[in-house]
């Protein structure tokens, strides 16, 4: 009997209303669009799941929805078996103790007016930890991400990019979360620093057995870190598979186009064109080289094609 998943995302959709402002917002784009459409995904205990896709694919929104920073308009989200789909902020605060988020830009995620030490100690102060113990735990957290002790007295603007991301990770770990969403956490870092941070993520994951949802546009990064990878296109998860399998035998035409960008001689992928979300039919059909008649009729259902390999395609390769 398999363990119940830590995070269970069931058929979640997120609708955003477009803001109407000025003359233009009035009749331009449709008043709402689905940033996430019918996403189903699980993250098991100790598992690292990658969420890859291009900008605008909805991967960041899905990550934030799982953390319930965004409320889904349809579907359900279960965290450790408990439905959190429509909890209010007050109730969420209890859940958030076990979840954390690491941002793309660490500088923006740390309050410029607070020292690193103060930022790390803030959640401890809330839970009434005595001052002396706070200091010890801050020091321990810094050590875990391999920052010197004195970093506690520094302010964010005094740290370099790599140090900042370490500090941000240390803060995310302060409340011993069981699940961390990392949103493009290494994409802004310099090449020579990125590998340090990627290794650090891997070490922390193995040491603390934390589950991760690792959002990235970089397929190499996803392969390096993740056990399973989900591919998103225009709000839909089109394929989920164990990382090695996905990179060896991608089946969705979009996954194939994406992977083809990895090697230079890759096959030609079509121009990206605007997608009408509300029209019936597969979301990818306009660009798809394997389009068949059925693709115009309905978006393909997500089916398990092999153990752990989910696919939404009428005519997979």
């Amino acid at each position: 009997m398999a363990e119940a998943p830590l995070v269970d995302v069931q058929d979640v959709s997120v609708r955003f209303r477009r803001r109407r402002s000025g003359l233009g917002g009035l009749f331009g784009p449709p008043p709402s669009f689905r940033a996430v459409a019918g996403a189903t995904l699980t993250v098991a205990r100790r598992e690292v799941v990658g969420l890859v896709g291009e900008s605008g694919s909805g991967k960041t929104t899905l990550g934030r929805t799982i953390l319930r920073l965004v409320e889904p308009s349809e579907g359900a989200i279960l965290f450790q078996g408990e439905p959190i789909t429509h909890l209010r902020e007050r109730a969420l605060r209890r859940i958030w103790g076990r979840m954390a988020l690491v941002f793309q830009d660490p500088l923006s995620s740390l309050n410029p007016r607070h020292s690193i030490g103060a930022a790390l100690a803030a959640p401890l102060a809330l839970s009434g930890t005595p001052k002396s113990e706070q200091q010890d735990r801050v020091a321990a957290a810094l050590q875990r991400v391999r920052l010197p002790r004195e970093a506690a007295e520094r302010f964010p603007h005094e740290l370099s990019g790599g140090q900042l991301q370490r500090a941000a990770l240390a803060r995310a770990l302060m409340r011993d979360p069981v699940f961390i969403v990392a949103d493009e956490a290494v994409s802004k870092l310099d090449v020579s620093v990125r590998s340090q941070i990627l290794n650090l993520f891997k070490d922390i994951q193995q040491e603390l057995e934390t589950s991760f949802l690792f959002i990235t546009h970089d397929l190499h990064v996803a392969r390096f870190l993740c056990d399973r990878v989900a591919v998103m296109f225009f709000g839909r998860i089109v394929e989920v598979a164990p990382a090695a399998e996905l990179f060896r035998t991608p089946r969705h035409p979009y996954t194939r186009a994406l992977l083809a960008t990895l090697d230079e001689a890759g096959e030609r992928a079509g121009q990206r064109s605007a997608v009408d979300q509300e029209a019936p039919g597969c979301i990818y059909r306009a660009q798809c080289p394997r389009r068949i008649g059925r693709c115009d009729e309905a978006h393909p259902p997500t089916l398990m094609t092999a153990p752990g390999h989910a696919l939404a395609c009428h005519n997979p390769g």
Binding site: L67, L69, E89, R93, W96, G97, M99, A100, L101, F103, D105, S108, S109, L110, N111, P112, R113, A122, P123, L126, S127, R146, L147, P148, E150, A151, R154, F155, H157, E158, L159, G162, Q163, R166, A168, R171, M174, R175, Q196
Partner: protein, 289 residues
């Protein structure tokens, strides 16, 4: 492990005091203000004349060593009266700005952070207040409250509520979308705590700049209201009252109005320079140019 190498400390100090240490314009403004305030205090304490001492032997005397700013139609020493008047005007303006600043900031931060219907309601009220010409709003309030220094302060406060509210609202809404606020929410902090601890320190600087610029305008407003006779009432010597008085014998004794106004402009210039310096140094877009 070289990731654990020493992290150098940034030498530059931040915050208003740090700005004062390196911004020439702000220094200039601060110098004008401090020296003028000291001068005012000195005159109020040590002037040989009382602001209301009438000397009918020395009516409308042009500036001299004895009376550096001359005397008015009652033979009162204009410089002494300007010092006392400046004290009143400053008090009125500071009082008004503190009231307006507090109310506006609270309203704006609430609207910006909460959003939704509360934001819509507050925004409408603020927009409405902002649509009244300054003196029109003040006049209505003066009629309601009766003339006098405290009413003027209230009127200045009311006029300035929308300025602070708009600023605080937009900056709070911006800050709310910032990652550090999201991070604080995820760390379990409550809304009031986030507003006070995370957001306020980050938006305080522009509010401070607004406050300093507003002080100058508050003085002008007090002067304007008192000038048309609907503000501070004689014999209380506010700058506006003195200017109103001075205009009556402008042709015979132009120095009363001219020098009083010049003093007003001088104080406001100090405030504006200080505000400008603060803004330039605190606005990241204008920094490092």
């Amino acid at each position: 492990m070289s990731a654990a190498a020493a992290i150098p400390r940034s030498a530059r100090r931040r915050g208003p005091l740090g700005v004062l240490a390196r911004n020439r314009v702000a220094q200039c403004g601060a110098f004008i203000l401090v020296s003028t305030l000291l001068l005012i205090a000195g005159i109020v304490l040590f002037s040989p004349y009382d602001p209301n001492d009438k000397d009918y032997m020395a009516i409308l005397q042009p500036p001299s060593l004895e009376h550096p700013f001359g005397t008015d139609s009652f033979g009162q020493d204009v410089l002494t009266r300007v010092a006392h008047g400046a004290r009143i005007s400053l008090l009125v303006s500071v009082g008004g700005l503190v009231l307006g600043g507090l109310a506006g900031t609270v309203l704006g931060m609430t609207a910006g952070y909460r959003g939704g219907w509360l934001d819509a309601v507050i925004t409408r009220i603020v927009e409405l207040l902002y649509s009244f010409p300054t003196y029109v709003l003040a006049l209505c309030l003066m009629l309601l409250l009766g003339y006098g220094a405290s009413s003027v302060a209230l009127a200045i406060g009311l006029v300035y509520v929308p300025n602070f509210a708009r600023l605080a609202r937009s900056m709070t809404a911006q800050a709310k979308a910032e990652n550090y606020v999201t991070a604080a929410r995820l760390m379990g902090q409550s809304a009031p705590r986030i507003l006070a601890r995370e957001i306020l320190p980050n938006i305080a600087a522009p509010l401070l700049v607004q406050f300093s610029a507003g002080l100058g305008f508050g003085i002008i407003m007090e002067a304007g209201l008192s000038f048309v006779g609907l503000g501070v009432q004689p014999p209380t010597p506010s700058l506006g009252v003195m200017m109103a008085d001075g205009k009556d014998y402008f042709q015979n004794g132009p120095w009363v109005l001219t020098l009083t106004g010049l003093s007003v402009a001088w104080i406001i210039l100090g405030l504006n320079l200080l505000g400008d310096g603060l803004r330039d140094a605190l606005d990241p877009r204008l920094r490092d140019r």
